[in-house]
């Protein structure tokens, strides 16, 4: 794998993370991070949608009439989102119910359209696929980190399994109800961005 490919794959995971650096896709990351299971399925769905739509748009990039470019991209993204939604309804019904409208709303996730506009329209299909997958993964990574903290402190569980033992509750510990509410996701996201910026000094504004 040449250096270019590697950069395409790795940059969105940390250095150019779509949530923490580009600050895209915030609204769904607030909504679906109460529990790890939902966050993980959402992450996988977004990875698939960003990867495949970037790939398809890149394949079509030389044929797309410029005036209806955005509409063509939307049609492709919408198709992918509906496919993912249908597959989830068939194979993971309970998860699809918890994620409810948010799967459908992947279409409005700025990461998908953002990467298509910024990358897939000007690059070959394989790098576009990788770029899409990597950006989805960068989004998913943050989702899982936030969901891990929220589920652990908010419900005392990980993937629905109790991890905080009973004797701690007996000693007076209580789950933090605020963790379950969306504002806490925003605060946690702020903390993640803070940590990243203190590691990666070039992101700090002068």
């Amino acid at each position: 794998m040449d250096a270019n490919m590697k950069e395409t794959l790795l940059k969105p995971i940390f250095k150019g993370n779509p949530i923490t650096v580009l600050v895209l896709g915030i609204c769904s990351s607030l909504a679906v991070t109460v529990q790890l299971q939902g966050a993980l399925v959402m992450a996988l769905s977004v990875i698939i949608v960003t990867g495949l739509s970037s790939f398809v748009v890149s394949l079509l990039r030389n044929t797309i009439p410029n005036r209806i470019r955005i509409i063509v991209q939307l049609v492709v993204v919408a198709m992918m989102v509906i496919l993912v939604d249908q597959v989830l309804k068939a194979f993971a019904y309970s998860v699809s119910k918890t994620l409810s409208v948010y799967i459908g709303l992947i279409i409005t996730n700025c990461i998908v359209m953002g990467r298509i506009e910024a990358f897939a329209l000007g690059n070959k299909p394989i790098p576009s696929l990788l770029d899409g997958l990597a950006n989805g993964a960068g989004y998913g990574l943050i989702l899982v980190v936030v969901a891990f903290v929220r589920e652990l402190l908010g419900s005392g569980t990980i993937f629905g399994l109790r991890v905080i033992p009973q004797f701690i509750y007996d000693a007076g510990y209580v789950n933090n109800g605020l963790m379950i509410l969306p504002p806490m996701a925003l605060i946690l996201l702020g903390c993640v961005i803070w940590i990243q910026r203190s590691i990666q000094k070039d992101l700090q504004e002068k």
């Binding site: 009439p65 005036r67 597959v87 309804k89």
Partner: protein, 260 residues
């Protein structure tokens, strides 16, 4: 080729849309049976939850078929008009169709599920109506006297999370229905959901959810309409608590309709 000409744009978008439509139509039709199974399984787990049979991790379908005494359809006059095949339930879309019939004043075929729960026959009746943002529905389980509520379960399509959505998620809301009665002086009046709190000791009323006025009112109306549709059937079956249920009487009526 000039990709910016009008003809090219029109032809391109037409072909694109046709291809996408074909892909989606294929996906939807090939996944349909699995999706329907999921919807059915969920309906079954709701029904047995109302009946008090659901336990975490249990296999809803097995519990359903093991404890089911019978499942059949009745009309507004309380006469049995058909039987449900084994394992068949009326899912939300069926309830919607019946709700349309009720509103249009047409004849209805409403499902009744009877379970044997700890040697008591529990009757589960559905309800369906319009909430604030979308449909709401639920199941009411009645004790053998066909008056006292054994349990309820509600669900919704898209009520406001944290407000109206609480009809499905808040245990206190569901639990306050248990032990309430749907009849007053022999008339089916359903259970009123009262904003600001039900009067103490009112056997026909429960508290509404604060901040969810419209959903609460919608659920109140839904229960009144649907239990009202069942009132003839309930009257036929109602027997004082403790005695053997209407079972025999209903059963022979249904078996007349049944050839095998």
């Amino acid at each position: 080729m000039n990709t910016n000409s009008n003809t090219y744009t029109v032809v391109y978008s037409t072909i694109l849309v046709m291809v996408v439509a074909a892909v989606l139509a294929f996906a939807a039709s090939s996944l349909k049976s699995r999706q329907d199974d999921n919807v059915k399984a969920e309906t079954i787990s709701k029904i047995i939850t109302a009946a008090g049979l659901y336990e975490d991790g249990c296999d809803a379908k097995t519990v359903y078929s093991q404890n089911l005494v019978e499942a059949f359809l009745v009309d507004a006059a309380g006469e049995p008009v058909g039987k449900l095949a084994e394992g068949e339930v009326k899912v939300t879309s069926d309830l919607k169709a019946e709700n349309d019939n009720i509103k249009a004043g047409k004849s209805v075929k409403l499902p009744v599920y009877k379970f044997n729960v700890n040697n008591e026959v529990i009757t589960v009746l559905p309800c369906y109506g319009a909430g604030l943002w979308g449909p709401i529905w639920g199941y009411v389980a009645l004790k053998p006297d066909m008056n006292t509520i054994a349990g309820v379960v509600f669900d919704h399509k898209g009520e406001t999370p944290g407000l109206g959505a609480k009809i499905a998620t808040e245990p206190w809301f569901r639990e306050q229905f248990a032990g309430k009665q749907i009849a007053k002086n022999g008339e089916v009046v359903a259970v009123s959901i009262i904003k600001g709190g039900a009067p103490k000791g009112d056997i026909n009323a429960v508290d509404a959810i604060s901040g969810a006025t419209i959903t609460s009112q919608a659920l109140d109306a839904t229960l009144k309409i649907w239990l009202g549709q069942y009132k003839e059937y309930i009257a036929k079956c109602a027997q004082p608590a403790g005695e053997d249920c209407c079972e025999d009487e209903c059963e022979c009526e249904t078996s007349e309709n049944q050839e095998d």
